[in-house]
Symmetry: C2
Subunit: 194 residues, 2 copies
Amino acid sequence: MLSPEEREIFARAMLNDVIAAVKDANCSPVIIATELYDSEDILVTIADNDLSGSLNEVLSQAAGPVLILMADLPLATGEAIRRLVNTKSDIAIVPGRGGGTNAIFVKEPTKFHVDYYGMSFSKHMQIVREAGLTCEVVDSFLLHTDIDEEDDLVELLTHGTGKSRKCLEDLGVTLSVAHGRVGVKRKDVYHQQS
Amino acid sequence: MLSPEEREIFARAMLNDVIAAVKDANCSPVIIATELYDSEDILVTIADNDLSGSLNEVLSQAAGPVLILMADLPLATGEAIRRLVNTKSDIAIVPGRGGGTNAIFVKEPTKFHVDYYGMSFSKHMQIVREAGLTCEVVDSFLLHTDIDEEDDLVELLTHGTGKSRKCLEDLGVTLSVAHGRVGVKRKDVYHQQS
């Protein structure tokens, strides 16, 4: 549905929505990127490791509580993030769709490590148990909804309020109902020369 | 993945999980069914109308607050339901995946009506606005996750704690990871004659 260039524009718009939500929750965002990323006002760390390795380095060196949020959560809101950072448990976690992990807040980062890919939610719950920590599973669909597949765009077009929804709409992607099932379609876009 | 008979057993298990959650939230369940349904201790109303028509009859005659929950929400918990019934707004609503509506709590049912199918969440928000009511969208993935497709079973096997998860497991349905993606598979079941 989207070209590689459009996917990059869309991914940046999602990241911007996540950053806006993080700021709204009074947290200080840091971007962990796998390649050079240009950001005017956000600290960017370029990782020379895989996702888990990079984040575990951050956790092992952190001086205070850490919130880990994936960048494909454009429905994130300050209110939803505050439910994590206000947890009474040692850790708060929001599972992603399909057995993954979308958000982790950990009060004492040196006591915890991450292990992404596959059924990471179950793996993280196991790590929590082994570390003897208490954990709250935060029941949020806004943070549970990661954007992986075309059908996930239905959620963004239904519930999104930020830049990534606008980005999709600007690309001509809209909701469609066929056979009682809601999906997305793309309007023909005419590239007119001016 | 499931035969028609197994689907019926599974659907009943999901309904039982929803009823248990409703009771845990101190609400009094009533089943609205489209055909005869046998229940020992729950009041059953057989509807001679479609889903919206049947529920609108209930709403128009209700003497007090009404909670409408779909029967395919096996992750429902008393805690999640209490977030709806404790709302400060006139109405609390949980969208379903794919533009639908999974749960509605309405304090004054005669002022509201439902309109299911298609993009019902947007329709319900429009009805709320037209009625001049206040509405809280409750951010719950446990109530957002309806079981429609095979992939939805991943959510039940990851987060479920009730009868419908046990039912699936008894049928030999388990999580599987292939190419980093989590799905479900069914073990070969040998029907031995005793």
